[in-house]
């Protein structure tokens, strides 16, 4: 736990940007293993998340392959369940969360004018926990009984019965949680203690604000998940009966504890995405963000409300109607601050000088599709409707509109937006736009039709379905393969940018106004802001 002050012996680099090729004492692989530099660690987070995105994506394709036709084709139901489970866990904990931690590592120190993260070595450790957790998750496929096939929510009582793969998953969740908590404390400390002189909290770029609030959510919610899986572990091996009904435990109790973590988790994923969008839209509208203060308050309101709505994931467990009503009203209440955000983004664009480069396209795609996902969420928040739609493909469509069109689109917007600053080179704008349009079309092809399937009653997590669902499933599967291939194009665009992109100017986006654009050259030097800028 060392602060940045003594984490590097590079005082000679003070004030000179020509030292940006000085990468600490090691070279080759050791540079990456030992690095305490926030930019290196951010890069590793982003690449790790992309790899996990590919692994989780392959599992999604396996699922869509099996669902291409009714009947059983490629996988037995057990394998199908394992793919469903691992797809969810890997995408949530391995792909989306690390992606935004990567953005935080790269951007927060630069945006608040800090030289690095507060705890540089801890930062290194937070990242290097991840590959081990990812390996444990993937290893569980090769244990007797295979990976857990219980769904990413790890519901009891199935988790109490699964084979050794379940234990590996529990440890993976512990490690991932530890990594997230340490990373969050690091981010909170950096933002609270290390802002440049004059950078008051209410002058911070909104991305820093959303991450600050996300980090609070992580510190409060992740330990509860750790507790839930620890209880599962002791139920499995040490004779406790928290969830084991045979000994007087209650599986419904698990659902309550899990979703007490699980709903804030939704906003842990969504809030940093909101933050990226709140940087991109003003930059390409050439206007400051509309209603900055209300954005901050709306984000806080969402975060606080997220702790009192968890049971809307479990309306059907047989809770009293009073409970259902409470959670229904609390849930619909979240639409208010979220609506404030959406209207603010729209108002930011109002009468702006808009241009539509790739980051802006992804931000607009986010705005449309995330709002659609928000609306289906509002539909699902209503108890009588939810009881019909619970565990159908309508729910699958809903949360993929929020997770993919919300978080992933925003991550793409962020990568295209900051890639010039990170690499010093421009990405291929034409290919970027192709990537956007293909992603948009294939995304809707996969998930829009799943609303119809859900309304017609197709249950989720089942490898087979009646003939009447065939057409929409075929369209969805074709869309999934198109979507998967399109992401290889994204990989190509990023690699091409790194290898042979045109040199980028210091501020390639006219309307961008945060410190990394106004105060740092392109590419951002390895050590930046060792003398903190003064913000007026």
């Amino acid at each position: 736990m060392s602060s940045v002050v003594d984490s590097h012996d590079h005082d000679h680099a003070h004030g000179g940007h020509d030292h940006h090729d000085h990468h600490g004492g090691y070279s080759g692989v050791m540079r990456w293993i030992t690095t305490t530099n926030h930019k290196d660690i951010g890069t590793m987070y982003l690449w790790f998340s992309f790899m996990m995105f590919m692994v989780g994506g392959v599992m999604a394709l396996a699922i869509r392959l099996e669902l291409f036709s009714p009947g059983m084709q490629f996988f037995n139901p057990d394998q199908f369940n394992q793919f469903i489970t691992m797809h969810g866990l890997i995408m949530v904990f391995g792909a989306i969360m690390p992606a935004f931690v990567g953005f935080a590592n790269w951007q927060i120190p630069m945006m608040i004018g800090a030289p690095d993260m507060a705890f540089a070595r801890l930062n290194n450790w937070s990242f290097w926990l991840l590959p081990f957790a990812g390996t444990l998750l993937i290893l569980s496929f090769f244990t007797p009984g295979g990976a857990p096939g219980v769904g990413w929510t790890l519901y009891a009582p199935l988790t109490v019965q699964m084979g050794i793969g379940m234990d590996l998953t529990i440890f993976a969740v512990h490690i991932l949680g530890m990594s997230s908590i340490l990373g969050s404390i690091n981010i909170i400390t950096t933002i609270l203690n290390m802002r440049a002189p004059g950078m008051t909290l209410m002058k911070m770029p909104l991305f820093c604000w959303t991450w600050l609030i996300t980090a609070y959510l992580l510190v409060a919610a992740m330990p509860v998940l750790a507790g839930a899986v620890t209880m599962t572990l002791t139920d499995r091996h040490f004779g406790t009966t928290f969830f084991n009904a045979a000994g007087g435990g209650d599986p419904v109790l698990y659902q309550h504890i899990f979703w007490f973590f699980g709903h804030p988790e939704v906003y842990i994923i969504a809030l940093p995405a909101f933050g990226v969008i709140s940087q991109v839209i003003p930059a390409f509208s050439r206007k400051p963000l509309f209603g900055y203060a209300s954005m901050v308050y709306a984000t806080s309101a969402i975060a606080i409300l997220s702790f009192i709505v968890w049971a809307h994931h479990m309306y059907t467990v047989g809770m009293p109607v009073t409970g259902q009503l409470f959670f229904m009203y609390a849930t619909t209440l979240i639409a208010v601050p979220t609506g404030v955000k959406v209207f603010n983004w729209v108002a930011t664009m109002w009468k702006g000088s808009l241009t539509f480069e790739t980051p802006m396209l992804f931000a607009l795609g986010f705005l449309f599709l995330f709002t659609l996902g928000g609306f289906t969420g509002l539909v699902l928040s209503l108890v009588p409707v939810d009881i019909q739609l619970h565990d159908t493909y309508y729910v699958v469509a809903h949360f993929h509109y929020v997770m993919v069109a919300g978080a992933l689109f925003s991550a793409f917007a962020g990568v295209y937006f900051w890639l010039p600053k990170w690499t010093g080179k421009m990405y291929d704008e034409k290919l970027g736009q192709v990537h956007f349009w293909l992603t948009l079309i294939f995304f809707n092809m996969i998930f829009f039709v799943q609303h119809f399937l859900g309304m017609a009653g197709m249950p989720r997590r089942i490898p087979d379905y009646p003939l009447m669902f065939e057409t929409w499933n075929k369209i969805s599967s074709i869309g999934a393969f198109g979507f998967g291939l399109t992401q290889l194009l994204f990989l190509y665009i990023v690699l091409k940018c790194i290898r042979s992109g045109e040199p980028a100017p210091q501020k390639p986006w006219e309307g961008a106004d945060s410190l990394e654009w106004t105060h740092l050259p392109t590419p951002a030097p390895y050590h930046s802001f060792e003398t903190q800028p003064v913000v007026k």
Binding site: M1, S3, S184, I188, T189, N193, V219, P223, A228, P320
Partner: protein
Amino acid sequence: MSLERQNRRTFLRFALIAAGMFGFGYALVPFYYQICAAWDVRNIESRAERPANTQVDLGRTVTVELDSNTHKLPWSFRPLVKHVAVHPGEVATVEYEVTNTRGVPITGQAIASYGPQLAGEYFRKFECFCFTQQTLQPGETRRLPVVFVIDPKLPRDVNSIALSYTFFEVEGRSAAAAGDRS
């Protein structure tokens, strides 16, 4: 205070919050059971099956007045006794007699009602012809028993309960029964 010390202090503060939240997860366990008990939602057996004190309250006598009606049904329907006196908690049996006066089979369903209405809550029927539909052949007469107990929790000011049955015809079933015969 140096930045390093300040950072360390912030770290400790949030590490404590994280540890506290880990404990909070465990605190949810007793909390859950308390909430369930308060709302009476986590009962393995349904409320009706739960054992209660079945002692007969010999200090009270409740008169049960028996009443019978038919609704647009050509049946004669009457209780064998007009009223019966029972102690709360005592198992009692009464009988009704019903005759189909029409030349075709007819299916009927009896619906019970109580006066005063709140007495219905304390009137526990173990056996009743109103649990199922009754199909009577032409001219058939049938004796229909009702086995019941009055819950000793019946409010003390209720001294008599009117138990009234009304037979309604189940029209589709009657036609089907007639069809079977022809």
